[in-house]
């Protein structure tokens, strides 16, 4: 797939995530479409290539949102690296794959976010991690995870076909 198209998708996604998607909250729970895209890219693309896209997404998101630069980047790279390790074992065609990876990634993302926030001197309670919002966030993001994963999967399959013939 053309690298410029992927970079374009990731950039547009960040603009949408920080604007339109922030309006579409459910009880304060927001969509982390950057994370969902990174999971999808890490499943389908070559590990080295997906890590570069992950670095780009993390750094751009950190710069645009203006919070600690490196926080999203670090967690995204960690998740992408984890997925690249198990990439060969993943059944890409199963609908359970995006669901399980999505849930695990959101929990890992929240855990490390709170961990770093705590390290940087913020007041953090475990209740924040296990709050109702986390469950709503998982459900909300899972729906979009399925959608993004399916669309990207079809796109990727078409591209493989084009390369073969």
């Amino acid at each position: 797939m053309n690298k410029i198209i992927i970079l374009g998708i990731l950039t547009i996604n960040i603009i949408l995530q920080t604007t339109v998607l922030n309006v579409l909250t459910i009880n304060g729970a927001t969509l982390n479409t950057s994370l969902l895209l990174i999971i999808t890219i890490s499943v389908y693309l070559d590990p080295k290539e997906s890590l570069l896209y992950t670095l780009y997404t993390g750094l751009l998101l950190d710069t645009v949102t203006g919070v600690f630069i490196g926080l999203n980047t670090f967690i995204f790279v960690l998740i992408a690296y984890g997925i690249s390790i198990i990439q060969e074992e993943i059944v890409k065609e199963s609908y359970l794959t995006p669901l399980l990876l999505g849930i695990a990634s959101i929990l890992i993302y929240n855990f490390f976010s709170l961990f770093f926030v705590y390290l940087l001197g913020y007041t953090v309670r475990l209740a924040h991690y296990f709050s109702m919002n986390t469950f709503i966030e998982i459900g909300y993001n899972s729906v979009f995870m399925l959608l993004i994963y399916t669309l990207f999967g079809k796109f990727y399959a078409r591209r493989i076909k084009e390369v073969k013939y």
Binding site: T18, V67, L120, R125
Partner: protein, 258 residues
Amino acid sequence: MVIFMGVTSGDREEVSAVERWVGNIITPIQRAVMTPIHAVQDRVYDIANFAQLNQQNQELELKLIEKEQEIIEFRLSESELEELRGLREALNYVSAEVHGEPISARIISKSNADWFNVFTINAGENHGINLDSVVLSERGLVGRIIETGDNWARVMSISDSNSSVSFKVLRDDNVEGIVQGSVSQDLEGYLFDPRMEIEVGDKLVTSGQGIFPEGILIGEVTEIGKSREQLLDAVTVQPAVDFQKINRVLILGLEELN
């Protein structure tokens, strides 16, 4: 990467050239994206509320804000203000005072993590916004400017975990303390003097210590308990501003006076 996080976590005098450059490119796009969203939001709001009811509601809200401001002004006695001014002069204390016309701005993007409450507005240095300018909404204190670009600025709200505000109780301005943002949307804090009394329902206003001018509504006390050290009265405060729904803000300029 962790060191990088640490370096960029504190208050910075100036954003890096890369951040400014990215901000100058991205924020106009974000503004363009949010313009129709704001228009739709405004329309949906108008349709959802019958015109007359909406008007009545706005009138009542204005009256309520007016009355709340009157109460605040009433409570902040003139003699106490004079006393504080005298003390400030005696100590040659440098304080920040509000000056100039307030600048109105729209929020064009937000950080989507629960534990940060940082958002970007569509006004920046070109509009006269400086670092630490005070940000308000019609309901009360929103936060302060932490980063500025040419036509954009980032606001850290008072509910951000990195933010703290000194307060006084509106009912009795001898009761003072400090509140800070938490990972939840509420503010948490304590009283400077544990012998002082505070009640659930008490309204808190800024005390004037630090960068925030005196008398701006912060929120209402919802819970009182002992802090972990069991020495100080810990208070939980619901901010007057609903940070989930806020769209427009007012920015006040600051000037240092001797």
